[in-house]
């Protein structure tokens, strides 16, 4: 397990929290596409998210080594639309990578865009993502 913190910047008129939630939901759609989901489904996101206690920015807490199953029915349209900062060539590469792995699994680390800030646990702590623990 290699935990990675991925702070999500506000984009597309969405706050950091809104965009992080939308991206997280699309990561879950890699495994369970919207076409297989039910409105009654409770499970909607792949990874937990945390909120910076000072800035309010939200980070997705992923695992670079986790093997994510790519459902054959996956549709990347909405995920790519949430990543306007990612160069088109990189998006094309992601599409090709996903298409080549439909029905099999890929490590989450291979799906993180080059434009995304990636923080280790130590780096996230240094940047104040976790307040000092308060013991009772």
């Amino acid at each position: 397990m290699a935990t990675v913190y991925l702070p999500v910047e506000p984009q597309l008129g969405m706050t950091s929290a809104e965009r992080a939630e939308a991206i997280d939901a699309q990561v879950w759609c890699l495994r369970r596409p919207a076409s297989l989901q039910s409105p009654q489904d409770i499970t909607k996101y792949y990874y937990p998210r945390i909120t910076h206690p000072v800035t309010g920015e939200v980070a997705i807490v992923g695992d670079t080594t986790e093997e994510i199953y790519i459902n054959p029915l996956v549709d990347l349209t909405e995920l790519l639309a949430l990543l306007p900062e990612v160069p088109q060539a990189e998006k094309d590469g992601l599409v090709a990578y996903i298409d080549a792995n439909r029905g099999s699994s890929v490590p989450f680390g291979q799906l993180i865009p080059s434009t995304s800030t990636q923080l280790t646990q130590v780096e996230a702590e240094a940047l104040g993502w976790f307040p000092d623990p308060i013991e009772p």
């Binding site: 409770i42 996101y45 937990p48 945390i50 093997e67 308060i134």
Partner: protein, 347 residues
């Protein structure tokens, strides 16, 4: 409490616990606690990547064939994810195989042509109080588990001392359930928690209530139960740690050795004091310093603490959580404790 009583030769069902002790703000259990509260939880099955039925969800209904309606492999399932299911019971939904004594030891049929036995996780623990304060978890790695996915195996139970089913939590992924913005009063509470810690994690949470600033031990609800520090103490409760409210740090704690205890923690507070007991024992009391009629502006959590985010997850099991935000039943706590102990066999 679904035991039957005889009245003039007739057998009639006795009242469920929350029918007798009314007014709960929230209640979660593996057994039915109130008339009409027939759905225990919504679950997600995991059969393996790419397998048919992976991540499908269903509601689990209490098994009324049992003296006390409880979740079991014979529990009816319904309200399936899109695509539906042919399963009629939880055992079929999970394709568990042959698990005596169910159906006389007959196999649960593989209703959905699953390729293996599914493990089972809780998306939502239904609030039986009638207040719709359901405890949910929308992220798979953080969901508590009720079946291991091992073929021919029954539901996860609390441990060796009882065969009652239980929700299994794991600190490694901080499994927990969230009660979103419940309108609990923070000052007056009467609460009951049945749990077991199987691996000691300092201050792991059983139930926590975060305030709007996100600090569970800073101006927090008066019913944060955690498992204490190390192996020498058990069962802290944090009350009025708010420097902003002018209160000094005050804890109520139960001192005691804790070699993986199956525990009933019961809590009560009034406008001045907060008290905590374990297994119907002596109350430990401290002044909490809250005002009156204070409601919780944040979320509440089952299975973890909260410090900027869910943290200090419990490694162990939880079977029942009952929260009153009144003092109405504080005089009945011993009777309620006895009911919980009678069913779960705690002490």
């Amino acid at each position: 409490m679904a035991s039957v009583a005889e009245i003039d030769g007739l057998t009639v069902p006795s009242a469920f616990l929350l029918d007798t002790y009314t007014g709960a703000a929230a209640a979660y259990s593996v057994r039915q606690l109130k008339s009409g509260a027939t759905v225990a939880m919504r679950v997600r099955r995991v059969t393996g990547a790419g397998n048919t039925g992976n991540d499908d969800e269903a509601d689990v209904v209490f098994d009324t064939s049992l003296a006390t309606p409880t979740i079991s492999l014979d529990s009816p399932v319904r309200n399936f994810s899109a695509g539906g299911s042919n399963a009629t019971t939880l055992g079929e939904f999970l394709n568990v195989g042959t698990v005596p004594p169910y159906n006389g030891g007959l196999a649960f049929s593989n209703a959905d042509s699953l390729t293996n036995t599914a493990s089972c996780f809780v998306d939502e623990w239904k609030d039986q109080s009638g207040n719709a304060n359901h405890a949910t978890q929308s992220t798979p790695a953080s969901q508590p588990q009720i079946h291991s996915g091992t073929v021919d195996t029954d539901l996860i139970t609390e441990g060796a001392t009882t065969s009652r089913p239980a929700l299994q939590f794991d600190n490694s992924s901080t499994r927990h359930l969230q009660i979103t913005s419940p309108a609990f009063r923070m000052d007056i509470r009467t609460c009951f928690y049945v749990f077991r810690e199987t691996t000691s994690v300092n201050f792991s949470g059983i139930v926590s209530c975060a305030d709007i600033s996100g600090e569970d031990f800073n101006r927090t609800a008066a019913s944060n139960i955690n498992t204490g520090n190390g192996t020498t103490t058990f069962g802290y409760i944090a009350v009025d740690l708010s420097s902003s409210a002018g209160g000094a740090n005050k804890n109520v704690r139960i001192q005691g050795t804790k070699p993986t205890p199956h525990s009933l923690a019961s809590f009560k507070s009034d406008s001045t004091n907060a008290s905590l007991q374990r297994n119907n024992g002596t109350f430990d009391t401290a002044t909490h310093g809250y005002g009156t009629n204070v409601t919780n502006p944040g979320n509440a959590y089952v299975g973890c603490r909260y410090s900027a985010g869910p943290s200090n997850g419990l490694t162990g099991t939880i079977q029942e959580v009952i929260i009153y935000d009144t003092s109405t039943h504080q005089s009945n706590m011993s009777s309620i404790n006895n009911d919980l102990n009678s069913y779960f066999g705690i002490y």
